[in-house]
């Protein structure tokens, strides 16, 4: 279809406006992270740091236990991603391949769980974990993250299972392979890319999560990155801008890299879902 020239110009102008809106806070974060204190205190800030420095990064590591926090985040996110995918894959298989009350109930739960205010969940969880002595512990947080990431893990995985032709499984069954054998040797290999994408997505959501971590982790040596980041903002809301920006920038890098790796799969999965509906 042809589009007239004025319309094209309008489209590009609009696209440019969107690009500026999407990019400028992020560029500002990067710029702030590399500025020395006198430039941060300047009343006329500039986009490009005049005397770029790495001091903010050094100072950020001095002020807060960033490495420890990154390690905690990594453990929580890895644990949650691996466990969630391990237990979600078989259930997603049932959701995708069977029609009936169980599959419908599971789908219903996935939808409803998107709508719940977490405060109603966190108070009882806090009490339960406290009785189990799992408050202020990364394993306790992993348990919460697993259940929290199950709905979307099930949703994504069920989509990937549907994309595997059932005929392949039936052919294996005809050849005499049992159900488990079929699952392991026929279905699982075809699902592998989807499983990896789902695990990475669960990893990012756990890496970025804040509310549960804030409530459940009490001491700095147990806290995850998002919680530690808020310590850079003082009680009165006064912040040391340079180290704050530096630490925030660092905390984002892993999720940006992982997301860049899988975003095609996520959007692809959503596209497939929408086309089918």
């Amino acid at each position: 279809m042809r589009t007239s020239t004025p319309a094209r110009v309008g489209q590009y102008a609009a696209l440019l406006a969107y690009l500026v809106f999407l990019a400028f806070p992020f560029l500002w974060l990067i710029s702030t992270a590399f500025k020395p204190p006198q430039e941060l205190g300047s009343l006329h800030p500039t986009w490009i740091p005049q005397n770029p420095t790495l001091d903010n990064f050094r100072q950020a590591f001095d002020e807060q236990p960033l490495l420890r926090a990154a390690l905690n985040s990594l453990l929580a996110a890895l644990g949650a991603a691996v466990i969630a995918v391990l237990i979600a894959t078989p259930m997603a298989y049932v959701m995708a391949r069977h029609r009936g009350r169980l599959a419908r109930a599971a789908t219903g739960w996935v939808v409803v769980s998107q709508a719940f205010p977490f405060v109603l969940l966190i108070i009882p969880l806090f009490l339960v974990l406290k009785n189990l002595r799992l408050i202020n512990s990364v394993p306790g947080l992993v348990m919460v993250y697993v259940v929290w990431s199950l709905p979307f893990a099930l949703w994504m995985l069920a989509g990937y299972v549907r994309a595997v032709p059932a005929e392949l499984e039936e052919a294996a069954a005809v050849d005499g392979a049992g159900r488990l054998r079929t699952l392991v040797s026929v279905t699982a290999p075809l699902l592998a890319p989807g499983i990896v994408a789902t695990a990475l997505f669960a990893f990012i959501t756990a890496w970025n999560e804040f509310f549960f971590a804030l409530v459940l982790l009490k001491t700095p040596e147990k806290q995850t990155l998002p919680v530690i980041l808020t310590h850079f903002i003082g009680a009165e809301g006064v912040a040391d801008l340079g180290p704050l920006a530096a630490a925030a920038f660092l905390a984002t890098l892993p999720s940006l890299v992982v997301f860049a790796l899988i975003q095609r799969r996520i959007t692809g999965g959503m596209l497939a879902g929408a086309v089918k509906s």
Binding site: L22, P117, L180
Partner: protein, 319 residues
């Protein structure tokens, strides 16, 4: 699945069944158990427990045993003007973020659906807000809004639009300022959902309409929108709910201030539960929030969002 739920009876063929399933399938249950047990223990169970707590005087760090108090918490809530104020702010915020976000995302999705040169860059950039931790998004915008060293005021000064101000701590500007951040943070997901919906539009229909001389607006109204409607309804319902429930962004930006002007219900309930230790009372707030969310869901379910949900559930999200 009929095989599982109706074990006693002979296996029925799937509706419209082209091929019969194998015999009674107890295997399905074993496949479901590893996920079902944690769901029941750590999700469904606590939710029911949470609802029960709303009818007790549960508090943290108290020595006397927790008492059953009936509907006392709810009666107190009814007269808690601070709570209703935060409820009102929550609704304002949810609508204030969802509506502009939808319009902007729709515009961007329509643009990205065109064959434009900078499309890849827009797609790449759109990933950033989606992948960022909400805490970092909040910190980033604090740097932008910073009264002295922030780029927003500097830009306004350069453009001769006044001397700038402290956006996040002004009574009148705080809520609009956090709403802008909310719109920015959630735009990518809405855009991708709508873009997915746009691929639903049959291209031939579009071209036929163009050949018939239909203008852009007419084509949008008669061809694009009907195909997009289910996805649009679903993403709007989810955005309203997600935004109403949001926490981290505003916690970092203003922590509910100034003077409670941005205190969303989740922030209020969080403080009540984990700062003042009023577990029962905070649980009652959670119940009221669930009731309101159920109404939103019911309204949209009536508008048949079911089909669209498929395309939208991300998942995840971002709490």
């Amino acid at each position: 699945m009929t095989l599982v739920t109706e074990r006693g009876r002979p296996a029925r063929r799937a509706p419209g069944g082209d091929r019969p399933r194998r015999g009674p399938d107890h295997g399905a249950w074993f496949l479901v158990l590893p996920a079902l047990i944690p769901i029941l223990v750590l999700s469904v169970g606590p939710l029911l427990y949470g609802i029960l707590l709303a009818f007790t005087d549960a508090q943290s760090g108290r020595t006397e045993p927790t008492q059953w108090v009936g509907t006392l918490n709810f009666q107190d809530l009814l007269h808690d003007t601070l709570f209703w104020e935060s409820f009102r702010i929550g609704l304002l915020w949810a609508a204030g973020v969802t509506v502009p976000q939808f319009l902007l995302a729709l515009g961007l999705a329509l643009l990205l659906n065109q064959n434009l040169r900078m499309r890849w860059l827009a797609r790449a950039l759109a990933i950033i807000p989606w992948a960022m931790p909400e805490v970092v998004v909040g910190i980033m915008w604090r740097l932008v809004y910073n009264p002295d060293a922030g780029i927003l005021n500097e830009t306004l000064r350069d453009l001769g639009l006044g001397d700038g101000r402290d956006w996040l701590s002004g009574l009148a500007t705080a809520l609009p300022a956090v709403i802008v951040v909310g719109v920015w943070a959630g735009m990518p997901q809405t855009t991708v959902a709508l873009l997915a919906g746009l691929q639903n539009t049959p291209r031939e229909l579009h071209e036929a309409a163009a050949v018939d001389g239909a203008g852009a607006w007419r084509r949008f109204r008669t061809v694009t929108w009907p195909a997009l409607r289910p996805v649009a309804l679903a993403i709007t319902a989810l955005n309203l709910i997600w935004n109403f429930n949001s926490f981290a962004l505003v916690y970092v930006l203003t922590n509910g201030g100034p003077g409670g002007r941005t205190r969303l219900p989740m922030l209020f309930a969080y403080e009540e539960a984990f700062r003042y230790g009023q577990f029962g009372y905070a649980a009652a707030m959670g119940c009221v929030m669930v009731a309101v969310i159920s109404i939103v869901l019911a309204v949209f379910l009536a508008g048949r969002l079911k089909g669209g949900l498929k395309g939208v559930l991300k998942g995840g999200d971002e709490a």
